[in-house]
């Protein structure tokens, strides 16, 4: 017994006096949502990082979008958020306001997170005030996807960037005249969701969807009525499909009408062009959104597809930031990721990747170049009440499009309700 004790004591001492430079074992947790491609590539990238940083283990936890936010809510309640978590524009402000995310600005200043190759327009979307809470993983912008081959057959020329709302409607009408019943010029007005239409329009008038403090809406009844009316007119003229069909498609590009050749155009985030092309088996192209004659600012903006944020409670923030830097600046890492999360923010990486891209990816890259010329600074991230306001807006929009309410009545009812919700959050 005694011998054993002595032995244990010696062992403890031995461990205690082991050389200080011995490898410290560190385990980090990282979580994201996504698809098979993303899971595979991110896991691959993590392995590369681990091989370059002996002693570091990164445990991946990946899920589907819906499940992700349930899990995060639970982990949040148990104070167990992962060290690095993928974040979204919709949620980042809530998490940051609750003090759950680490401010990354000091790391940028110190150079631990090197953004010198990245144009601020591509990464400031993760900022709240002067603090950076999320590192943009890839860039997106709203895109009008169209079937160039089909347009060619129809003998109709695609609109050129810089076209206006009027041009857009005229173009849809021109298409309507030559398309058979049941086939629509466009599958949707601004990604199937009125939210994006309002955002686009309110920005053109110099505002944002939400007021700066996030406690009220950033637009009035007149603007909302205009948007509802615009959408309703397009529906009534069969320039876009009726509401039930638009809802059936949902937001998945795979199920969009353009896939089954029931529409010539669709609106989506630029990274989703790839899914539409895969599902339809046809080449498709992309254009920017309409501008307005009276605009004071561009409605179009360059948007972060998603972020990586570091938990404020992480015990290994330095290593987490190191990983973020690796994702942003490592050529090898991006050779694995291949812009699956959107166009990388570093111009150096973009140049490196260009020759390795598939044809569709190249279209997306070029599109972002064009879009950047017609884009202005992104609106601040959505406030805490956003999901509820968004839900409410969808309901009123459906009321308008199913003919249950007039655009005026819906706008009049929605505005005070939404303001009430936001004020009480």
């Amino acid at each position: 017994m005694k011998k054993l004790l002595v032995f244990a004591l010696v062992l403890t001492l031995a461990i205690g006096v082991m050389p200080a430079h011995a490898q410290e074992q560190v385990t980090l947790r990282i979580s994201w949502w996504g698809s098979q491609t993303r899971h595979d590539r991110t896991i691959e990238a993590i392995k590369l990082f681990e091989s370059q940083n002996p002693g570091v283990t990164i445990e991946p936890e990946y899920m589907s979008w819906n499940d992700y936010w349930i899990r995060m809510a639970t982990l949040m309640a148990a104070e167990q958020l992962p060290d690095i978590m993928q974040q979204d524009l919709q949620y980042i402000r809530q998490y940051a306001d609750k003090g759950l995310l680490e401010n990354l600005s000091p790391y940028v200043d110190s150079g631990a997170l090197n953004l010198s190759d990245s144009d601020p327009a591509f990464w400031t979307g993760g900022m709240l005030g002067d603090k950076l809470y999320g590192l943009n993983l890839g860039t997106n912008s709203l895109m009008q996807v169209y079937d160039a081959v089909w347009l060619n057959e129809l003998g109709i020329e695609m609109l050129q960037p810089g076209y206006t709302w009027e041009d857009y409607v005229a173009f849809l009408r021109e298409l309507r005249a030559v398309l058979p019943d049941g086939v629509y010029p466009s599958a949707d007005v601004v990604t199937n969701q009125i939210y994006n239409l309002i955002t686009h329009r309110v920005r053109q008038l110099g505002g944002h969807f939400y007021a700066e403090d996030g406690k009220s809406l950033g637009f009035d009844e007149a603007l909302l009525t205009w948007c509802f009316q615009f959408e309703k007119d397009l529906t009534d003229e069969a320039l876009i499909p009726p509401m039930d069909l638009r809802l059936e498609m949902g937001v998945s590009p795979e199920m969009n009408l353009i896939v089954t050749k029931q529409s010539v155009m669709m609106e989506t985030n630029s990274n989703q062009l790839i899914s539409a092309v895969n599902a339809s088996g046809r080449p498709l192209a992309g254009n920017i959104m309409p501008v307005a004659d009276d605009q004071v600012m561009n409605g179009q903006y360059i948007k972060p597809s998603q972020f990586f944020s570091v938990s404020a409670h992480s015990a290994h923030k330095d290593i987490a930031v190191k990983f973020l830097d690796f994702i942003t600046n490592s050529v090898e890492c991006n050779d694995i990721l291949l812009a699956e999360r959107g166009v990388p923010i570093s111009s150096k990486i973009r140049e490196e990747l260009k020759p390795k891209l598939s044809e569709v990816d190249a279209i997306v890259f070029d599109f972002l170049g064009v879009a950047a010329k017609y884009a202005d600074q992104i609106s601040p991230p959505e406030p805490a009440g956003h999901s509820e306001v968004y839900d409410l807006l969808k309901t009123y929009d459906q009321n308008v499009c199913f003919g249950e309410m007039t655009p005026e009545a819906a706008a009049k009812e929605f505005i005070p309700k939404a303001n009430d919700l936001l004020a009480n959050k």
Binding site: S64, N66, W69, I70, A73, M76, A77, Q94, K98, L100, M243, D244, L245, L247, E248, G250, M255, T260, A384, G385, S387, E388, D391, K394, T395, Q398, N399, F402, E404
Partner: protein
Amino acid sequence: MPQKTLTRRRKRSLETNNIAGYLFIGPWLIGFIVFTIVPIAMSLYYSFTNYDLIGSPTWVGFQNYITIFTNDVRFYKAVNVTVTYVLIYVPLRLAFALFVAMLFRVPRRGVSVYRAVYYIPSVVGGSVAVAVMWKQLFGRNGVLNSFLLAIGAMAPAAARSWTTTPSTALGTLIVLAVWQFGSPMLIFLAGLKQIPAQLYEAAAIDGAGPIAQFFRITIPSLSSVIFFNFLMQTISGFLSFTQALLITNGGPMDRTLFYVLYIYLKGFSFNEMGYASALAWIMLLFMALLTGIIFKTSNYWVFYESKGANK
């Protein structure tokens, strides 16, 4: 055996036996105390608080309950949707399940294959794949529309997407629920097996035809199982959630906003766990009342071969 001993023994089998009772329900009771009571109590506590899942909940008294009843349109919508759903789907599903169980209870050639085929819908569950499938079948260009157009039951202009048209969305979810009638069917089959064959033989000798046999023997003998299925389907109807989440997401225009889906939205999308818990407790009280009533009425129409300790 002397009569006296028999009576004493008979009496003993009905005597109170705490040790045996707690021995048998022991595992359940431990689970209830360790894993269930605390979370239930915590949800009751949350229902009196404002709890956004961060830090500790703040006490607000009955505020959540007051808001629900006085200032929440969606609550009433959700109640309306859920009650409509339960009232239609429970009788339909039970009738269907019992009918099919009757068809498949007798061993006949091919019957075990049929049973399997009719049970398949009930194992596909509520996955993403089922949601996609259901949307496609009931879609604008889906099978239902093609069929209706082919037989001339619908004008081409009336073609619609059934899952996303406000007037039919709930209907398609009901169809889905009725289509998955396998679980009550299985219980009916198990129950039918318990009915002794002599009862039918005796009735046949008395000259009762199949229909008379069904009402005079099958229904009364099966009443405890019917009661079980009725109660359980009602409860699970009120707790329905997955299908609405995946297929319609509560829409269009909240027409498929099931009560539990609303709880889920409040709790996990809007991060108002206190409010969500209050909604859940209102439901609990309502269902406890309903279950109590169903139990009371069961005294009049459910026949047990033996009266158990709780009857």
